[in-house]
């Protein structure tokens, strides 16, 4: 069981380390009018966020706190969804570049000895 928790923490830390750059890549794709490729990234991002929230809930059961606020994540996803519905791609790019990337940079990796 301990091994599983350690592995989960390592996967979690690896994933959050990639998020800021991933957000910037998506923003650049949108600004470069590569909409189809960006949409694939956004779909993967949304799945990734669901996974992140799921991990947060699981780890909490072992008194390990990621400090991720699920409401804030959901707010971002709702904003993105609304902008996509309007095909407001520059707004989506702004959300990824100036809001999400900054948010992700502040996520703190979990220490294994926790």
């Amino acid at each position: 069981m301990e091994t599983t928790i350690v592995e989960t923490i390592e996967i979690y830390n690896e994933y959050i380390a990639k998020l800021p750059n991933g957000c910037l890549i998506t923003a650049n794709l949108l600004r470069d009018d590569q909409i189809n490729v960006a949409m694939d990234n956004i779909a993967n991002f949304a799945e990734g966020m669901q996974w992140l929230l799921h991990m947060t809930a699981l780890l909490q059961q072992y008194e390990i706190h990621t400090r991720i606020n699920p409401e804030q994540i959901n707010e971002f996803l709702n904003e993105i969804n609304e902008a996509l519905t309007n095909e407001d791609y520059y707004l989506v790019a702004d959300i990824f570049e100036y809001e999400l990337a900054e948010f992700m940079k502040k996520l703190v990796p979990l220490k294994v000895d926790q």
Binding site: R31, D32, D33, Q34, E87, D88, Y90, L91, D94, Y98
Partner: protein, 400 residues
């Protein structure tokens, strides 16, 4: 069109049109500069910029290209509202598309947002959407295409189209062009019965469909640069001819066990240079493997072409024949365009298929070939004759 100016987070002005941001709401000028930096071909002799907005793209473009002529199409005459102190002798701003001068040395720059907010009924919408689609696709795959080009040419495992034509002793003047649209499923039995009466050329995504029905085409054609197209020939043991665009996926071509014939496309600089060096013909690709196939058959001087599976429309929310490697479900949010159908009054199609439809109509009208359309679920292609099954059999018998 409802324009709204706003203050961006960095204090600059930004702009919305019908509630969609034309520029970033954080750093609008930097956004426009970045776009110009990524899009502009510095070797072009002049530029056409679609959309004026607040003039940020124009400013960035002028900074980048200096005194080269720039024409700006201010789609909604917004320059009258937002233009300040624009005094440049090399810039012409107009709201009339017919005032634009277009030649082969001009680069047309279209920020995606203008296509988003334009009405689809705007007379220039389809033209701009076509151009944008091709530009985006090329940009996405430019480095892969170049890598494939060099790998394919260096492999020297092919013959050229001229060599093929000189060595090809077939007297058939009739060709079947098999694409993998939904109609192929309806016509597969008829095709199987009559395949021996024509030169059968199929696109890569239709190969497995044909082989499953024991139809072995004379040739297959591929044009896609991506690794995923290997699936089209994998495990088929197909030994017939493979026509390939010089930029098509090198690994797939290498794995083919039959003869390979190189095709060089016009509009691609490396292909044009190589064709000139080896005195080879160039083909118009039209942007898809089916359009390339049509160009090839025209170049080979067939007199009659029968189109199978070339629906250029979607049926029951799928894009290709059931067994085709390219079949996918159409997502509900994809923009549908309704066009005249062969069997139905109106059929839905996608923007890229509509672009190919227009290409086929243009080609069919100027071609010397007689083109028959056997795609009941497909879009009507002006310049071709839609043929039902009984008439198909009659045509082949009369021809024989």
């Amino acid at each position: 069109m409802n324009f709204e100016k706003e203050l961006a987070k960095n204090g600059e002005e930004t702009l919305k049109a019908n509630n969609v941001y034309i520029y970033s709401k954080y750093a609008p000028k930097k956004d426009a500069e970045r776009w110009i930096e990524q899009q502009v071909d510095i070797h072009a002799q002049s530029y056409i910029l679609v959309g004026f907005g607040l003039g940020y793209h124009l400013e960035a473009l002028q900074a980048k290209v200096g005194n080269k002529p720039i024409q700006v199409l201010s789609l909604f005459k917004e320059h009258e509202q937002f233009m300040h102190n624009m005094n440049s002798s090399n810039v012409m701003i107009t709201s009339e598309g017919e005032c634009l001068t277009i030649d082969e040395y001009v680069q047309i720059l279209i920020p995606q947002v203008w296509l988003t907010i334009m009405s689809k009924d705007h007379p220039l919408y389809n033209i701009f959407a076509n151009i944008k689609m091709k530009q985006t696709s090329y940009k996405r795959f430019a480095s892969t295409m170049e890598l494939n080009f060099h790998t394919n040419i260096q492999a020297q495992h092919y013959i050229t189209l001229n060599e093929f034509r000189n060595n090809n002793t077939s007297s058939k003047k009739r060709a079947f062009l098999i694409a993998s649209g939904p109609s192929l499923d309806e016509r597969i039995d008829a095709l199987k019965q009559q395949a021996h009466k024509a030169y059968v050329l199929c696109v890569g995504s239709a190969l497995k469909v044909l082989l499953k029905h024991q139809i072995v085409p004379d040739a297959v054609i591929i044009s896609d640069c991506q690794d995923t197209i290997y699936e089209q020939i994998r495990d088929t043991q197909y030994e017939g001819d493979l026509f390939f665009l010089c930029t098509a996926n090198a690994n797939t071509i290498k794995q083919h066990i039959g003869r390979r014939i190189l095709l060089l496309q016009s509009g691609y600089r490396l292909a044009e240079q190589y064709a000139k060096n080896i005195n080879e013909v160039l083909l118009e690709t039209g942007g898809s493997v089916s359009t390339t196939a049509f160009s090839l058959l025209a170049n080979l001087e067939f007199e009659e072409i029968y189109l199978f599976g070339l629906d250029l429309a979607i049926a029951e929310h799928t894009t290709h024949a059931q067994q085709s490697t390219s079949n996918r479900d159409v997502l509900q949010q994809e923009k549908l365009i309704y066009v005249e159908g062969n069997r139905q009054n109106k059929v839905p199609t996608l923007p890229n298929l509509f672009m190919y439809l227009q290409w086929f109509e243009w080609q069919a009208n100027k071609s010397n070939m007689t083109v028959y359309n056997l795609c009941p679920l497909g879009a009507k292609i002006k310049g071709t004759q839609y043929v039902t099954l009984p008439n198909f059999e009659k045509l082949l018998s009369n021809g024989d």
